[in-house]
């Protein structure tokens, strides 16, 4: 089974991913315990505080894990800029720190709830006995109540451990390498081996930590040293194994970012390979959220990644008007330089824009090659769009500009939309660089009036590296080197399960010189 390339690839990443995962989850758990245990002990005899504490922890729990993690990034970024301004130092708001803080917060509810209910559940006659034999409140708490509540508290700790280890897979989009990297990249590149590998590894890790904690708990309850020592030793082994790669590995050099879809994984691999070919060290932070990756670049936490002019135009510049492709590119580059200090190393030569597409045979039979042609036939045709497209301003803009009135319109999941083109529906919304355009032999319809906003792929360089001549020299040749056909074929390969690194090598041999 190790001969399967996808499995071998998954294994080769395990030390890094697992190590980071263990590091971030155990740090978060330790921090969470260090806060929530004393807090619950302080609150257990104070009914008002106890109510507030439990309510607050419950509210935190209702925030979805992904949102909680994502919220910490801008928060820390703000704090970092404040400390930089007033205290003269800043820190990385990406990756480890926000993950640890969010996960620590996430771990608190089970610990607080179980500590409080565990102590409250103790037979009141024992508390009276503790008082009667001459214990102070504090002695009663630490000598009697806490030891007796320990099984319940440990159950809470175990729940917290399992939650944190599971939720840590969601730290990938805020730049923390974890077992989630398998899942996020696997989902994007249709690499189900990766997805399963990531899920299984996270589940096994959670199970292992839970069992070790159970061993410690049972040993402590029966006052046996051996199981406690064995459990602690087991945890120490897990931590040591986890830390080994990060202590020995050299993690320096340039950091290349990638968003959460396969094109981004391939391009990040391509960039990293170019840097390595030029003798530069490169590592990748993949699966980052779209706005997080941009903020991270502007804050010098990653050094380079590929974005799209239309995305920056709308999301960062807050522009709603539509300009021709070349002008958009120039405006975006000027804005990035002046507002964020970000350099554009070049446009890669293709767009990943929204477009309408049809089955090639059908388009030729009806003589449709542009949206203007489509308007004449639209009343006899049906269109399918993904859920997002049908609510975007682009869709309203082209309907108005070309007078498009379809017989029917349907919202569909992208996976089903492409095969449906030419069968259940006639026209679909598509991404222009999507590999499935080639796979299903579709044609992308022209937009002669220029209504669709341009989405040129641009290679962005962080402010700190904007004058790094070695980096720029290595990346310059990528400018204009990738046409949309090459990118589509590359995306098709990636979506069929070929590892991004191999697709990148395949692309490198076919770049326009």
């Amino acid at each position: 089974m190790f001969r399967d390339p996808a499995i071998a690839d998954a294994w080769s990443r395990l030390p890094d991913y697992l190590g980071q995962h263990v590091l971030v989850s155990l740090t978060a758990l330790a921090l969470g315990l260090a806060i929530s245990l004393p807090l619950s002990l302080y609150a257990v005899r104070r009914p008002h505080l106890r109510t507030v504490l439990l309510a607050a922890a419950s509210i935190v729990q209702t925030i979805p894990g992904l949102a909680l993690l994502a919220l910490f990034y801008p928060l820390l970024l703000g704090i970092a800029s404040l400390t930089a301004e007033y205290l003269g130092f800043d820190f990385s708001a990406l990756g480890f720190l926000p993950s640890v803080l969010a996960l620590a917060l996430y771990s608190m509810l089970p610990v607080i709830r179980n500590t409080i209910t565990g102590i409250e559940g103790i037979d009141p006659s024992l508390r009276r006995a503790a008082q009667g034999v001459g214990m102070t409140e504090r002695q009663s708490l630490f000598m009697v109540e806490l030891p007796l509540a320990m099984p319940v508290i440990m159950a809470g700790v175990r729940t917290a451990a399992v939650w944190v280890i599971g939720t840590a897979t969601l730290a990938t989009p805020i730049g923390q390498t974890s077992l989630g990297n398998y899942i996020f990249s696997g989902l994007q590149t249709q690499n189900w081996v990766f997805v399963l590998f990531g899920c299984a590894a996270a589940a096994l890790l959670a199970l292992a930590v839970d069992l070790l904690l159970a061993l410690i708990e049972r040993g402590a309850a029966r006052r046996r040293r051996l199981p406690v020592a064995a459990g602690l030793a087991g945890l120490a082994v897990v931590v040591a194994l986890a830390l080994w790669p990060s202590l020995t590995a050299q993690r320096s050099g340039y950091i290349i970012g990638a968003k959460t879809f396969s094109e981004q994984y391939v391009l990040a691999a391509l960039i990293a390979q170019r840097l390595e070919a030029h003798g530069l060290n490169a590592s990748r932070r993949e699966g980052l959220g779209s706005s997080i990756v941009f903020d991270a670049l502007a804050a010098n936490e990653i050094d380079a990644y590929v974005d799209y002019t239309g995305t920056i135009w709308a999301n960062a510049m807050k522009r709603t008007d539509i300009r021709p492709r070349a002008q958009t590119l120039a405006d975006v580059a000027a804005w990035l330089k002046s507002e964020r200090g970000v350099a554009v190393a070049g446009a890669l030569g293709f767009e990943n824009a929204y477009a309408l597409a049809m089955k090639r045979s059908e388009a030729e039979r009806l003589g449709i090659s542009s949206l203007a042609d489509l308007a004449r036939h639209a009343p006899q045709l049906t269109i399918a769009g993904d859920y997002e497209f049908l609510s975007r301003p682009e869709w309203a803009a082209i309907r108005e500009a070309y007078g498009l009135n379809f017989r029917a319109q349907r919202a569909m999941q992208a996976e089903f939309m492409y095969p449906a083109a030419g069968n259940e529906v006639d026209v679909i919304s598509a991404y222009t660089s999507d590999g499935r355009i080639a796979q299903f032999d579709l044609v992308v319809l022209d937009d002669p009036k220029g209504v669709m906003p341009p989405y040129d792929a641009v290679l962005l360089i962080s402010p700190g590296r904007a004058n790094d001549s070695a980096l720029l020299a290595a990346l310059k040749p990528l400018a204009g080197a990738i046409d949309v056909t090459l990118m589509r074929q590359a995306n098709l390969r990636a979506s069929q399960g070929e590892p991004p690194e191999r697709v990148a090598q395949w692309m490198a041999a076919r770049l326009k010189k």
């Binding site: 006659s125 006995a129 008082q131 009667g132 214990m135 030891p147």
Partner: protein, 261 residues
């Protein structure tokens, strides 16, 4: 002999004057006395006992321990000077018998060796061989054995005064009988002062030197068992003492007839 414990016009009101648990109680307990407090549930006997080691403070009046107003004493230090045997035994389930017994000495800062010697002495005293019992957990014992440990724990820090809150109430009759007689012997040999709550008048009559009868928060009688059995003019006390008297008479006649046949 000056009293070791004295109540001077003590009252206790719970809530905002809602319930009066004790109403102007004055009694004195002399050294080496074995005093039983009897009365129905809710009569105020637990409140009375709890005031001696400041588990409860009075609303009015003064409680004295060895002549001192207990309000001037640190409650924690006071409790460590007084042994307490609990109604539901109250052994700490996570501690061994030796650790349970040595808990007050541990709070007083005795060293490990002294605590362990003391625990063994006390296990011997309550007839649980230390070699067998020292390292067991309370859950491994029968109810009677547990309360023997409860008594040993109360005696551990060498107190002169022992408070007992219905100590034998939850035990079966035979265990109760042997345990209470064994305790009475300890009381005598160790020169203790014992205040014991019980709802069992016969137990009080058979064990105690003096019996305090509490009725609705007041001391209805405070006398020797002989004095109370001889009859009083208080109808509540007479009603209470009537049962042991009738049972004793019935038993006496049964034994007389049995012997005669």
């Amino acid at each position: 002999m000056p009293p070791v414990i004295a109540f001077e016009n003590v009252s206790k009101v719970y809530g905002a004057g809602a319930t009066t648990a004790l109403d102007d109680v004055s009694i004195e307990i002399v050294p080496r006395a074995f005093v039983a407090i009897v009365g129905q549930s809710g009569s105020g006997k637990s409140t009375l006992l709890g005031m001696i080691n400041r588990l409860i403070d009075p609303s009015a009046g003064i409680v004295r321990f060895e002549g001192e107003d207990v309000r001037d004493l640190d409650p924690i230090a006071l409790r460590r000077r007084i042994g307490y045997v609990f109604q539901n035994i109250g052994l700490f389930p996570h501690l061994t018998l030796a650790e349970n017994i040595a808990i007050t000495p541990r709070l007083l800062g005795w060293d490990e060796a002294r605590r362990s010697t003391r625990a063994d002495e006390l296990l011997d005293l309550v007839q649980l061989p230390p070699a067998d019992y020292r390292d067991r957990l309370p859950s491994e014992l029968s109810g009677g054995q547990r309360q023997r440990v409860g008594v040993a724990r109360a005696l551990a820090a060498e107190p002169h005064v022992i408070l007992m809150d219905e100590p034998f109430g939850a035990l079966d009759l035979r265990t109760r009988d042997s345990l209470s007689r064994d305790y009475r012997k300890l009381h005598d040999t160790l020169n203790l002062t014992t205040v014991m709550i019980t709802h069992d008048v016969i137990e009080a009559v058979l064990l105690a030197d003096r019996i305090a009868v509490i009725h609705e928060g007041r001391i209805a009688a405070y006398d020797t068992p002989q004095g109370l059995m001889a009859g009083t003019d208080n109808p509540d006390v007479s009603a209470l003492m009537d049962m042991p008297r009738r049972q004793a008479e019935r038993l006496t006649s049964l034994m007389r007839n049995g012997n005669g046949s």
